[in-house]
């Protein structure tokens, strides 16, 4: 089960790890932590939710525990979705329309958000439906819809600013 889960969700976990953790060495450590947590978790996996939901839960919970530990070391301040939408663009907003820069902005936004919001953003970016996000996070479908709407609005504002600067 572990091997097939990694084959199916390896790239999702790779993006998630990079989303939560900036430091390259820490990324490897987090990736290892998630795989160990997954391996251990299959002992208690009873099939009451889908394998996909289970893998997402384990991966996100492990990642958030990891960043909460490193937050204590680095004194990071997390922001809300509203604060993200209000963030000013940097001086290099023009370059932000490029795909690579846009991705960097996405990663930067995820790392700055509070864990519950970061998780919603990551799941939405992965293409998860509201019902699946709801099952993974424990939030109601209505709550997920509200937060996804705010994620979209924050991202649209961020990238529109970049696009306007480019034009």
């Amino acid at each position: 089960m572990f091997t097939s889960a990694m084959a199916e969700f390896g790239s999702v976990i790779g993006r998630l790890v990079r989303g939560y953790e900036y430091d390259r060495t820490q990324q490897d450590e987090l990736s290892q932590e998630i795989q160990i947590a997954l391996w251990r978790s299959f002992v208690i996996f009873d099939g009451r939710c889908s394998l996909r939901t289970w893998v997402f839960r384990i991966a996100h919970n492990t990642a958030v525990a990891h960043i909460a530990r490193s937050r204590r070391r680095k004194a990071v301040r997390w922001i809300t979705l509203d604060e993200l939408a209000e963030l000013p663009q940097g001086a290099d907003a023009e370059a932000a329309v490029g795909e690579a820069m846009m991705l960097e902005q996405l990663y930067d936004a995820i790392r700055r958000l509070r864990p519950p919001d970061a998780q919603i953003m990551l799941l939405w970016l992965e293409g998860e439906e509201a019902s699946a996000i709801s099952e993974i996070t424990g939030l109601s479908a209505g709550a997920v819809a509200t937060r996804v709407h705010r994620v979209k609005a924050a991202l649209a504002r961020q990238f529109r600013q970049g696009g306007q600067a480019h034009a």
Binding site: F2, S11, V97, L106, G138, L139, A143
Partner: protein, 185 residues
């Protein structure tokens, strides 16, 4: 405008996959390390506590004896807390995110509160009593002022750090509680 979702999913990043054998080995190593961390504390306490006990029994000054007893008590609580709050006693991986995050924050807050309440509180008067006892046994006044003053500073600094950490955890829990309460069906 570029589509952030499309762009995100196009990335070809894969976690460096471990084989089941590697995961099993890494998992066993982690468990051994966690157990060893716990045992190191227990072993140190096996040396430290009898030593403190001997000092309590052999010292002639009652102030020093009471001070050492309080420090010993703080140490015992620290060991108890370490055993109780060690990661092996909490498994949140399979919970949904809200419950897992809440449980983690609450555990952290409880640990911080407990440290402030049960470890720092007996430690400070314990050290002050030892210092007073030493002064009674002939230590100079300047030595006493410097040591007790320094310890008081250290104590209040640690208290402030803990209080700040608890405030942060409270803020996170408040934000989580409001969101869940308002938005749950």
């Amino acid at each position: 405008m570029l589509d952030p979702r499309g762009l995100w999913q196009q990335q070809d990043i894969s976690a460096s996959k471990m084989t089941p054998q590697e995961v099993r080995r890494a998992s066993a190593i982690l468990e051994r390390q966690a157990k060893w961390r716990e045992w190191r504390v227990y072993l140190a306490s096996l040396v430290w506590m009898p030593l403190m006990g001997i000092m309590i029994l052999t010292n002639t000054d009652s102030w020093v004896r009471w001070g050492l007893a309080l420090i010993l008590y703080g140490g015992l609580v620290a060991i108890w807390e370490q055993a109780w709050h060690s990661p092996t006693h909490s498994r949140v991986e399979g919970l949904d995110f809200l419950d897992a995050w809440r449980s983690q924050l609450e555990r952290e807050r409880e640990k911080l509160r407990s440290m402030r309440r049960w470890q720092l509180v007996p430690y400070l008067p314990g050290v002050v009593l030892v210092a007073v006892g030493a002064a009674r046994q002939g230590a100079q006044a300047s030595w006493f002022v410097m040591n007790v003053g320094g310890l008081l500073l250290l104590y209040f600094w640690l208290r402030w750090l803990k209080a700040r950490a608890i405030r942060w955890v409270d803020d996170q829990l408040d934000a989580l509680g409001d969101g869940a309460r308002l938005e749950r069906d």
